[in-house]
Amino acid sequence: MRKLLLILMTALATAANGYAATKITAVNPASEDGGTKQVLTSVATGFDYNMFFAGTPANAVQWFSKPNVLTVWSSEWPGNPAVKSPAITKDNTVGLIMYETAICSREFTDLASMRGKTIKISTWGHIHASKFLKTLGEPYNINFVVIPYSGSGSIARGYIGGDANTTFIAESKRAAITLDGKTSCFLSSSTDQIAFRYVDAIIALNTDPQLVNQLRASLQTQSNSASWKEKLQGTRTLVGGDHLKYFNESVAALTELIQ
C-alpha cells in the first residue's frame, strides 16, 4: 500500500512538474475590452494559462521576462521609440493577423472624383493614418482633412452620424457603414489597392519550439472556426513564422509614415 502511494505521489509530482513547465503567461498589451484579449484567449484555449492585463505595450514589456509568454504585438509599435519591442522572429511567431483597411464614401466613387478638393474624412486619430492619406491624395491634389477617432467602432458611428461623407476604416466595419445603401468602398488593402494595413504578430517568448508549434496548431484550429471568422471579419490570419515579411513590411511602412 505504501509503495502504491509512493508511486502515485511520484506520478502526481511528475505530472505537476510537467504542467507547471508549460504554464503560459498570456500578456494583453491592449485594452481589456479589445479584440486582442479575445485572440489571446482563443489561441491559449486548451493550455494552462494566466492572463495578465497590461493595457499598453509599454506596460506589457515588464512581463516579458517570464517563461512561456504569449502576447500580441502590433506593427504600429516597433516604430515608436517610447515602446521597447521584443524580438519578433520566424521561430517565435505563432501567426499573424492582418487587419485590412478600406476607403469608403457616400459621395465619391473613386479618387479621381475627389481631384482638387478638400475632403473631410473620418479615420484613426494617429499620425500613421493622416500621413498615409496625405501621400495617397498627393497625385490627385486631394487635401484630406482628418476627423480623428480612437478606434474603428467610433469611426463607423461618426461616419453613420454624418461627421464626414468619406471614411478610411477597418474592413471589419464595412457591413455597418454600408447599411445606409449609399456608401460604397472603392479602395481596399485586402485587394492590394492601398498599401495600409495593421499586422498583429502573435508571439511566444522564452519558450521551447515544441510549445510554439502547439500554439500554432491551436491558432490553425481557431482560425478555421466560424466564430473566429465572424469576430475577425475583414482580417486575414496566417499561421506560423513563414509570413513574417508581412509584419516587417507593415512595420517599415508605418515607421516610414511617421518619419
Binding site: 491592449a30 485594452s31 481589456e32 475590452d33 479589445g34 479575445q38 492585463f53 493595457g55 499598453t56 505595450p57 509599454a58 506596460n59 515588464q62 509599435w77 515608436n80 517610447a82 515602446v83 478638400t118 473631410k120 484613426w124 486619430g125 494617429h126 482633412v145 482628418v146 476627423i147 480623428p148 477617432y149 480612437s150 478606434g151 467602432g153 467610433s154 463607423a156 458611428r157 461618426g158 453613420i160 452620424g161 454624418g162 461627421d163 464626414a164 466595419k173 457591413a175 455597418a176 447599411l179 445606409d180 466560424a226 466564430s227 465572424e230 469576430k231
Partner: protein, 429 residues
Amino acid sequence: MISLICFSLFGMLAGLIVGIIPALGPMVLITLAYSILALSTPVNVMAFYAAVLIAANYTNGVAAIIYGIPGDATSIPTAQYGHRLYRRGFGSYVVGSNAVSGVIGVSVALGIFTLFIDKIFLFFTFYNSIVQAVIVLLVFIGLIFSKKSQWLTTILMVTFGGILSKIGVDKYTLHSFMTFGNEYLNLGIPFMSVMVGLYVFPEFLKKFTLKKSKVRQVAHWGVLPGTFKASMLGSIIGFWCGLIPGVTNILGSYASAVAAKKMYHNKPSMIVSSAEAANNTGALSSLLPLLYLAIPITGSEFLIYNIMIDKGFSFNQDSISQLYPVLLISPFIAILSTLLSWRSYQVITTLVSYYVGKQNVVNAALLLFIVVTMTLVSIVPWWTLLSTITLLIVGFFIRRMDTVPIIYGFFLTHAFYDDFIRVIIILFN
C-alpha cells in the same frame, strides 16, 4: 422558452446582488459568469444580460438611497437627492418612486425599440459628434451653474476630475500625460478609486445623522406625487444619452437630473425619478449600437458580443428578430425586480435600524468593504489600492466640499474633448 425564463431570472438575481454591492457592476459579473454563459444559446445570453442591466439599476438605487453611496456613477443623483429624502423620513416613498420610474424607463426603451424596430438605423444617422458635444456641453454648463455662487469652485473641480482622467498613456496615440515615467501611472487612475476617495469618503465624513424615528417610517409602499412626468422626461433624455459611447447612462442620469432640477424647481423627488428613469432607459438604449451595428460600446457589451459570436450569432438587422423573446420578457423582469428591490429595501432598512448611533463604525466597515472588494476585482490590485489610499487622503482635505463635479469631470472630459476636437474640424476646416 423555459431556458430563456431561467436565464432571465438568473440574470435578474445576479443583477440585484451586483447592484447592491458598490464596486461591482455588469462588467465584473459578466466576467465571472463568462464560462457559464458560453455554454448557452445567444438568445439566453442576451436575456441574461438584459435582466442584469435592468435589475442592477434597482438595487443600486436602493443602496444609494439608504446609504448615500452610489454603487457606480449612474446613481450619483439618486445618492445625493434620494438619500436626502430618506433622511427626512420619506425612504419608502423614494424607493417606491425609484422603482416605478425604473419600470417607466424600461417600458419607454422597449416601446421605442418596438415602434421603431425597422427604422432604428435612422437614430444613428442623427447621432454625430456635434450633437454629442452639445449634449455633454449642456451637462457641463448645468453642472457649473447648478450652484451659482460656487461656479468657480465647480469649474476647478471639473478640471481636476478631467486632469485625473487624462493621466496615463493614451491607448491609441501612446502619448503619456503626467506619468513621470512611472509604469503604474501609465495605467491611469482607476475610476473606482476616484469615486471612493473623492466622493464616498467625503460624504461619510460629513457625518450625517440618522434619526431612529425616521427610519421606522419605512414600512409601507408609496410613490411620491407628480413623478410620472419627471420619469418621462428622464426616459427621453436617458434614451439619447445611452447612445453616447463611454458615458451612456452615466451621462443620461446626470443630464436628466439637471433638467428635472431646472424644470421642477430643485424638488428632490423629481430629480431622483428623472435620473432613475434615465438610468434604466439608457442602460437598454446603449445596447442598440451592439445589436444593429455590431459595435459594442461598453466593456460588458464586448464580452457579451464575444460570447454570442462564439455561439454563431450575427449582429445585424436580420438576426435581431431572434431576440424578440428577450424584448417580451423584459417588462416582467422589470416588475419582478421592482418587487424584489422593495423587499431588499425592507431588509436593509431593518439592518439600518440596528446601527443607529453606531453609524461611524458601520460607515467605516462599509468603506473598508468597498475598498477590499474593488481591490480584489481589480486587474492591477496594488495600483488600485495605492490610488485609493492617495485619493482618500485628498478626499479628507476636501471633505467639506460638494465633490460631485470631480466625478463628472473625470467621466465626461474624455467624451467632450474628443467630440470638441472633431467639431472644430468639422465646422471650421
